[in-house]
């Protein structure tokens, strides 16, 4: 259904569904959404995807570091992001995305919610890729 929605969305403005850099389906599982909250530990603002790392604390205080993939910088700036301003190391964030097939603490991010309540898209919808 997600794929259908993505296709319809693309058609609404007159094109076929779009892609990011790679096939989402090979690396990530669109049936396994995940949301975590934590503190940004590191940001690799690079092509073809940015990666950012979030330290997530469990009930007992144990910290697990999650790795999130996102749009490349040239797409992020078009979504309203600014390097070193929008997201900084030490910021508390909530991230929504879909789990990686290989690494249990990696995901493709779709949306980041910042502590001031701002929400920005950080990566493509599930099911896209390979156009």
């Amino acid at each position: 259904m997600r794929t259908v929605r993505a296709v319809l969305f693309g058609l609404l403005v007159g094109t076929v569904p779009l892609s990011g850099h790679h096939s989402f389906a090979a690396e990530y599982d669109g049936d396994k959404p995940v949301t975590v909250s934590g503190v940004v530990a590191k940001i690799d603002w690079m092509n073809p995807h940015i990666y950012f790392y979030v330290d997530v604390k469990d009930d007992k205080g144990a910290v697990t570091q999650w790795k999130f993939e996102g749009y490349p910088p040239n797409m992020l700036v078009r979504q309203g992001w600014k390097r070193d301003v929008t997201m900084k190391v030490g910021d508390t964030v909530k991230v929504f995305g879909w789990r990686a097939r290989l690494n249990p603490t990696q995901a493709a991010s779709r949306k980041v919610t910042f502590s001031n309540g701002t929400e920005l898209n950080s990566g493509p919808p599930a099911g896209t890729g390979g156009q």
Binding site: M1, A6, S23, A26, P48, Y51, N74, Q131
Partner: protein
């Protein structure tokens, strides 16, 4: 949740009938299509041909829909499946089963024609009296398309974007592209081709804000008949072409190797 294929197709068809468009005579009262000194429609500007759902917000998508409606733009023909011969279709199905892991784009290789037109990043068209230049943000792609009547050169080496020559058919720029290598997919996962590929592109500026793009792909070794695709190119007056050096930190390549050792195809 899965839907039967028939309802998916019906949904797609109805969405397209309502919203997509084809080149036609412009309605009076709309912003005129700019023209160059020689009277040709001026295609110059920054355009984007795909990935609107990634690039635009909901409000902009709605504004585009309304502008299309106001301009009375007609639906584009629905997408056609690639008319592969049985062996070539088998090969495409294998690529699909591997979830696009073999995509040349995922290895940061330059996309070919027509795929580069519908990648979700802008490109700039610079129209000159003797040629049309297209500069693509994605992979630093560039095309120099002579429109002075010269033929394809006789020393072509197979390449990702092939060799292009253009001519005007009334208000439509027609581009003949040959000389491709086999390292690109046409449009969509697994859409392979041979060096015999010929692509004919038609660019028609049907409103101030839009170009109707049509690509006809011919390859006698893999297709039973020519394959057509259409897209709407949208003017992005506030965009500029940025840098995109894809290979900078491409971790996907290593992960593909590891994925091949797992059951990622399930």
């Amino acid at each position: 949740m899965k839907r039967p294929l028939a309802s998916v197709v019906a949904l797609l068809a109805s969405a397209m009938l309502v919203t997509t468009t084809l080149a036609q005579t412009q309605k009076p009262g709309l912003k005129p299509i700019p023209r160059t000194a020689d009277g040709k429609p001026d295609l110059s500007g920054v355009w984007v041909g795909g990935g609107f759902a990634l690039l635009f917000g909901d409000a902009e998508i709605e504004a585009i829909r309304k502008a299309d409606e106001a301009a009375g733009r007609k639906p584009l023909p629905p997408p056609e499946p690639p008319p592969y011969k049985p062996d070539a279709e088998k090969k495409r199905q294998e690529y699909l089963a591997r979830k696009g892991i073999d995509d040349p784009m995922a290895r940061c290789l330059l996309s070919g024609v027509p795929r580069i037109t519908v990648r979700p990043l802008p490109f700039e068209i610079i129209q000159q009296p003797h040629r049309v230049v297209i500069l693509y943000e994605v992979h630093h792609g560039m095309r120099f398309i002579p429109t002075d009547g010269r033929p394809h050169p006789d020393d072509m080496e197979p390449s990702y974007l092939g060799d292009s020559i253009g001519r005007w058919d009334g208000d439509t720029l027609v581009v003949d592209v040959v000389g491709f290598n086999t390292n690109t997919w046409l449009v969509g996962v697994g859409t392979h081709h041979t060096e015999k590929l010929r692509v004919t592109e038609r660019y028609t500026r049907d409103t101030y804000d839009t170009i109707v793009y049509e690509a006809t792909m011919e390859d006698p070794d893999v297709f039973t008949k020519p394959w057509k695709m259409y897209a709407t190119l949208r003017l992005r007056p506030n965009e500029r072409i940025r840098e995109y050096e894809c290979i900078e930190n491409n971790e996907d390549i290593q992960r593909f190797e590891k994925l091949l050792e797992t059951d990622f195809k399930k």
